[in-house]
């Protein structure tokens, strides 16, 4: 588990094109990531560190362009660490997928038309869930699957994660 969140941050660094890699550790039984900085105090928490890295890479647009977009990005980052990571069992996973599916119905990215950090972190967070999803369920959450497939093929995002197969043609509409 600890490796997972550190791997995620290392992948994010690569995606952002950051050259020097930072040092990470984790703390607590929830394995919260910690960024050890040379100057100043450590940064704690996945979304905090991720937002910091985005600034460091001078890609502020990934945090949203307008005040509204920024808020939406922040909201989904929070959703990632509270709802997706904190989900308790199958029912809550289903609620997450259902809500996201509904939300993504008319959207390309989580923040609407622009690709942001929210897409990256929610993608990482959903990866283990999507991996375990049966074909039939992937079809049920078609908007999530579409969005997920889009993000995993977004240049430089997938990094360490194995691709999750999302079929484009439906299998279960009418099985012969």
């Amino acid at each position: 588990m600890s490796d997972k969140v550190v791997l995620e941050l290392l992948s994010l660094e690569k995606s952002l094109g950051l050259k020097k890699t930072n040092k990470y550790s984790t703390q607590g039984d929830k394995q919260v990531p910690v960024l050890q900085t040379n100057n100043g105090p450590n940064l704690i928490g996945l979304t905090t560190i991720a937002a910091h890295l985005v600034q460091e890479a001078q890609q502020k647009q990934l945090l949203g362009n307008t005040a509204e977009e920024k808020a939406i990005v922040q909201q989904w980052l929070e959703y990632r660490v509270t709802q997706i990571d904190g989900h308790r069992g199958k029912d809550e996973t289903r609620t997450v997928l259902k809500d996201l599916n509904q939300y993504l119905e008319d959207k390309v990215y989580l923040a609407g038309d622009d690709f942001t950090l929210a897409d990256i972190l929610v993608y990482y967070g959903l990866h283990p869930i999507m991996t375990e999803l049966a074909v039939q369920e992937k079809e049920k959450y078609v908007n999530v699957s579409r969005w997920f497939n889009h993000i995993q093929h977004y240049p430089g995002i997938r990094q360490h994660l194995p691709p999750v197969v999302v079929l484009k043609n439906r299998l279960y509409t009418s099985v012969h």
Partner: protein, 915 residues
Amino acid sequence: MRLYLTEGNPHCLKVVAAVELTGSRCELQFVGVEERVVPFLAHSKLPCLQLDNGNYLFSTNAICQYLFTLRGKEPSDLTNQWLEWEGTELQTALSGALYMAVVQGKREEAAGALQKKCAYIDQSLMKRSCPFLAADAITVADIVLWGALYPLLSDSTFLPGDLKALRSWFERVCAVAACRKAVESILKGKGLQALKPYLQKQPAPSQRAETPASNEPEGGESADRVLTEEEIGAAAESWSKGLSAWPKPKPIEHPVLPQPNEKNVLITSALPYVNNVPHLGNIIGCVLSADVFARFCRLRNWTTLFVCGTDEYGTATETKALEEGLSPQQICDKYHAVHAHIYQWFGISFDHFGRTTTQRQTEISQDIFRRLLDRDFLLQDTVEQLRCESCQKFLADRFVEGTCPFCNYEEARGDQCDKCGKLINATELKSPQCKICKGTPVVKSSKHLFLDLPKLEARLVKWLEDSMVSGNWTPNARFIARSWIRDGLKPRCITRDLKWGIPVPLEEFKDKVFYVWFDAPIGYLSITANYTDQWERWWKNPEQVQLYNFMAKDNVPFHSVVFPCSLLGAEDNYTLVNHLIATEYLNYEDGKFSKSRGVGVFGDMAKETGIPADIWRFYLLFIRPEGQDSSFSWSDLLLKNNSELLNNLGNFINRAGMFVCKFFEGRVPEMELNDDDKRLLAQATWELRQYLQLLEKVRIRDALKCILNISRHGNQYIQANEPWKRIKGTDADRQRAGTVTGVAVNMACLLSIMLQPYMPSVSASIQEQLLAPPQCNVLTEEFVCILPSGHQIGAVSPLFQKLETDQIESWRKRFGGQQPDEGSANQSKTEAKPAAETKAAVAEDAGKDADPQRAKQLAEEVTKQGEVVRELKAQKAEKAVIGAAVTKLLELKKQLVLAEGKTPEAPAQKGKKKK
């Protein structure tokens, strides 16, 4: 913008305070506690903010930050960190604490639950010596944390007295006018009790905390289980019995035959079609899965017969033979050997690997046919069929291609469309084309025999329901079988106008053979008959035999519906499938395996990588498409090899053996079990039983995790007890080091047995290194001391090798496609290929001038020009204009044919475009 609030909701305190503090203009609207406002969320989520453009923000902290951002107060790393901490850490503790304090009236417990979090804030404040959390002035972080804590901290006796920094910060924020206002509007002067109606609607926190936050599959990395004293006692007792109480492994004597009053397991894996080299997906889908199960059954001392063989009749063989310029029999001989060799390399433990082109196959198929005929389950009908006049033959199945009538896929085969997967009658194809001469076939009628499935439906349904209830059918198998029944059964043609097949034993059908799907499953019977004359003891013995069929999901209809109907109709007390185990598909990296593009690892190439067969087996089984599709990934293979095999399993077994060699001259030391050791034994026993249960249900992938869990426990045990240090200590320490080493090496031995179905060679090496007695190779529900103290072990050496990234990268490149291909373009049964692949393969086969890139471009031009021509015709343009356009189209088509590497004499095809 409009802010939706509800009274008594602590989150609303934060947002109202933020509104007041930032002086934001927004309409406040109070709604009911459970009102759903955000349209895309299934449950009520309040507060929420509706923006002017209609969007919703449903996260309290994001709303607060948004209000601050609008005032030009952007987030900083520190405010972000506080907000994240509040959302993930504080809220978890707080929801429990509030519930205890308000609903259950347990104030002290509530304070206890919050103690740590409060201390954390207190310390942070002291460290920074700022009046506020993130700066010298108030920020969003203060508002959010204040709002969260207010309901509890507003009671000044709630906090223990020593958290002074927190106390003074809290009072400082409380004094802010905006916060006072927020308290007034949300709590209405009722204090903590105002929260009661809201909190009562929330799930009780104790239930929330205890359900594990895990999406691991069952039997996955289980957290430390709570073991009862009884379990621990029982495990210690079993252990002390040693091998004396252990059943002896049953010797295998061929031919294996079912025994009365024993569990008799008959295992088949879908017969691979002979015309191609199997890829990793084919291997994991059938033979490897079946092999693990067969090995497991033998370890359980069940009478087990595992048969398989190549499926050799049918049009695919004939087309392949044409391609390679060999006779069908030569093709079969060649590829049968290829298959047999690959499976042997993978260590597949068939009792017999046969083939379908045998005399027995003919006899048994014809017998079943005659029985069906006698019982009136066959219908005769004339069929409109495509016949190619120039080739002088009826074009069955794969000899014809055309456009799919359902999805318009342009390269559908005569029996099935690879794109939409529907079964097709060749005559339904649009613009059909003879596969051999590319000529257009004509429709001729021909007499054929049909299996009367509707007449057998009632029997089938009854049997199917019984079998599904009592047996172990994978969910996809149940689903597919039921959907076939639901859609209604139709008579199915069982004869074909071909030569390469089993002749139909009737005078008027003497030029015809059985459709390959009629006789292929009969192969299971005939292959067994070639193994033993007493085959009927397996196949006509449903009372004593449990039949397991392993396959990929595309084979389910034939095994669950069509073949059982043949056997039911033949009325000869056949053994029908009890457990139908179907896998989903395995993909390769990002896409599908493709022989023609050289994408993916095929059976014969796995060996060339130098990675041992057992590593392949392990990884394929680890990612077995059980329940959902999965993909093979090189980097994942590296990861699993290096983390699970090398660092976990290999490390544990090697250390256990090394300690025996290094510290105890290779003899297992005396063991005096204490409670820790007994607990470990109980833990291992529990995992062992999980493993047995899962494998009995053929959950092969899940059971593998139990093995890894045991070695994980073992590693922790060694790490905690540090025998390498204790060996240098006092007598008691040395004694302890001995016990730990002895227990560990016995666990290694247990692992070698459990590992045998998955990694037979590794299992054998472990047992060789430990000089484990051969009679230990039985699986029971108990973990006994197999290697007693004084047992001499052999030389210990590492079991696994590290895989390096550059190695993996070079393989990924090598198997990533575009490698030279020997020109085999035919499809394996389990892969549906997109058009481009098959086309490209044709191009490779046909000539050196082929240029797929150019061909693609030309194909697009042909399509465009075709549209131009149609358009002109539709507009009734002048003949000369149309003529010119048509000439251009023909010229383009000619170039296209060349670019595809075909001979230009071949008749140009009508409107054929490429994907």
